[in-house]
Amino acid sequence: MTIDSRVVRAFEAALAPEDVISDPVRCRAYECDGLTGYRVAPELVLLPRDAEQVAAAVRVCHEHGVPFVARGAGTGLSGGAVPVADGVVISLARLKRVLEVDPVDRRAVVEPGVTNLEITAAAAPHGLYYAPDPSSQQVCTIGGNVAENSGGAHCLKYGFTTNHVLSCEVVLPDGSLVTLGSDTGEQAGPDLRGLFLGSEGTLGITTKVTVRLLRTPETVRTLLADFPSVAAAGDVVSDIVAAGIVPAAVEMMDTLAIEAAEEAVHAGYTVGVPAALVVELDGPAEECDEQFEQVKQICDRHGCTRLHIAGSPEERAAIWRGRKAAFAAVGRISPDYFVQDGVVPRTRLAEVLDRIAAMGEAAGLRVANVFHAGDGNLHPLVLYNAAAGETERAEKLSGEIAELCVELGGSLSGEHGIGADKACSMPKMFGVDDLEVMRRVRSAWDPRGLCNPGKVLPTPRLCGERPGKYRPHPLEEAGVIERL
């Protein structure tokens, strides 16, 4: 135990003795998030019951120099909630009240431990819903969504968490309680709310979130289409975009992903086809129907081998069940797998998939692909067998795929975050000065470096010193950006 007993007593005074967990067995339940490869058992786990207790706990951390990591449902896929060895985990699981649903102003005020889907459930009686829909929406919490700026299948049309959060009550790293954002999109000063959203728990802990609610669309049309090649499916996406249509969602799955999903949930996908697209349109009936006809014609034009149109809400749900089950379902065709989250400009999808296939072949590993085709966000699943000693090779391939995305002008992460997992890859995407300015911003919020340390930004301790000669950024080589 490296946390002083005096400090433990301070936590017990700030919360209640029974809400401070020090039993190593119970603490171990908090040792990792959805990225189970990273594990660090915390010294203490704190279970505050309200915002004031969160603030009081953080004040104790601040006073005594104890690092802290906030935790929602622990579904994150980048190790953003991995504890710090000599620190505490502050769980927001008990802050789970829906405080207000306002159908007139179309907003909800919720505590951070409320799940994403619970917000929609609370809004549904009013014909409203909360738009961002990460695949884990049944269990992931809004506090975690705020930290990660979570996306989802429908963010192509509706945007990400940052576009749907009006304001956040936040406990700053010094324990003070402030509100970021306002009741409207209007700002008085720089958009601190926007900076906080997606800061992966490094700038503070949110204790109350006001989200926008949207009216449930009048019409939703969903189709599942099979194609003879990934390239043909990609061309369909390009043509949909070129036609000026903004689909609610466009998802693609390749042979392996289809096979896994079908085996798991029998959603009606065609096993063996090279590529399947899920296209969903929503909106006013007249417009939705008109554009849906166009989408069907585009599919036909590109050699669609089977077109299945959801004829009922149940059929639509089945199509989505297949898509959303794909990650977990991969467990049925492989003992272990890594999920990647890179982004490429959408027009480079076919190219990146070819290269991923070649890299997988060279590494002797299979890669299944499930992705948000509309915005170029890939989720390659690198399949491996840990028992056969393939872990290291798979991890390397997975990292190389993320860095390939950067090389093609994209990003290391579209929605899972950098966390502990990709912090050391950040220099592939950002220059020294870019990262230094981010570090300065972080320091303004958290001068003592106690708030989720070791995440997002690379540190020498974490990643090793990286001397050696300067390597130009890929965008720099392409003449898109210049380094001065």
Partner: protein, 369 residues
């Protein structure tokens, strides 16, 4: 140069390098200027040693029509950018009043401006996917990137949005684009503010998906519908039936709306944001001369006598809202900002980290910092 209170000629860089050099080679305080369409907004710029004119940083760097993204230099006038994008059937889904006056992309971001379409598309904070900017110490930094979906690193574009040139100079901006709607039409409904609020509830409560709803003190509610040519007439008809009123405008009613947003030279202009349902009550309590009110967004722009501004800030704040002064008559004094936000210490700390000598935009956040 509407805010050129420096004695030396303004610096007018034309690319990232000369911008960086201009910041490094200048001593003392710097005022950052764009097209001058919002030079008098927020706190008055204190006397500065140099003015940095960003309008030479103009032009598209890369436009990828198929990816629906565009990278531009920050001094590009959004009007010009829209003209370049139009042949591709694309646009930046943003319609602040001063766009037609030649406002620059960087200036629109720095002032957190937005127009009626914010109801659906938000402000530029929601459309910017990458930025390159220069700090007061000459550091060139980048955040975001060229793809719509990206959560790598801090989103520093947000920090610059609404910073009024106090944290850094924008050099380059990458924007997300939307398809230009095939058709746009506006229903005009003569009514009072209270009636307009009821109509707004109807319009937003149904399946109509309007892109803008604004009441103006001319006594009309404007409801804009955009979409495919084939479906628009039917959608308009359905909306009109639901509202039980309204005619489709033949001229462009939004030009008059923009005129009201721009304000009057002998009055102060205040921008207000409060919870939409509270907006009519707040407006009723203010001695406004003209009003445009986004009843769906909760954002209003009003003109009022300068001596009423302080009380107006207080009234908006009491309703849980925020407000900022956009213009005041020559010589008049009126507070630019209302009561400080709870997060002011964070704002000050960020300013101290990024611009420790207070070089950029002195006075803009007076008296907050």
């Amino acid at each position: 140069m509407s805010q050129g209170n420096a004695t030396a000629a303004p610096l007018r860089p034309t690319d990232l390098r000369s911008l960086r050099d201009a910041v490094l080679d200048t001593a003392g305080t710097v005022g950052i200027a764009g097209a001058g369409t919002a030079a008098g907004w927020a706190g008055r710029l204190a006397p500065v040693d140099a003015v940095l004119d960003t309008t030479g940083l103009a032009g598209v760097i890369t436009h990828n029509p198929a990816d629906m993204t565009v990278a531009v230099r920050a001094g590009t006038r959004l009007r010009d950018l829209q003209d370049e994008l139009a042949p591709h059937g694309q646009h930046v889904a943003f319609d602040a009043a001063r766009v037609t006056d030649g406002a620059t992309v960087g200036g629109l971001i720095a002032t957190a401006d937005a127009g009626p379409a914010a109801l659906v598309h938000g402000s530029l904070r929601d459309l910017v996917i990458g930025v390159t900017f220069v700090l007061a110490d000459g550091t060139v930094a980048r955040s975001g990137g060229h793809v719509i979906k990206n959560v790598a690193g801090y989103d520093l574009a947000k920090l610059l949005h609404g910073s009024y040139g106090t944290l850094g100079v924008l050099a380059e901006v990458v924007l997300r684009l939307h398809p230009r709607p095939e058709r746009t039409a506006t229903l005009v409904i003569p009514c009072s503010l209270e009636e307009a609020a009821a109509h707004t509830a109807t319009a937003l409560g149904g399946p109509h998906e309007p892109t803008a709803i604004e009441w103006t003190s001319d006594g009309v509610l404007l409801v804009r519908i955009e979409g495919t040519a084939g479906a628009l007439d039917a959608r308009l008809e359905r909306l009109r039936a639901a509202l039980g009123a309204g005619e489709v405008a033949d001229a462009d009613p939004w030009e008059r709306h923009a005129e009201l947003v721009r304000g009057e030279p002998d009055l102060a202009t205040l921008r207000i944001g409060v919870r939409p349902s509270r907006l009519p009550g707040v407006l009723a309590d203010l001695p406004t001369r003209t009003v445009t009110a986004g009843l769906g967004t909760g954002v209003a722009t009003v003109t009022l006598p300068p001596d009423a501004v302080a009380a107006a800030h207080a009234r908006v704040h009491a309703a849980g809202g925020v407000s900022v002064l956009r213009s005041r008559p020559e010589g008049a004094t009126a507070p630019a900002w209302g009561p400080p936000p709870s997060a002011l210490p964070v704002l000050r700390a960020v300013k101290a980290e990024l611009d420790p000598q207070g070089r950029f935009g002195p006075g803009r956040f007076d008296p907050w910092m």
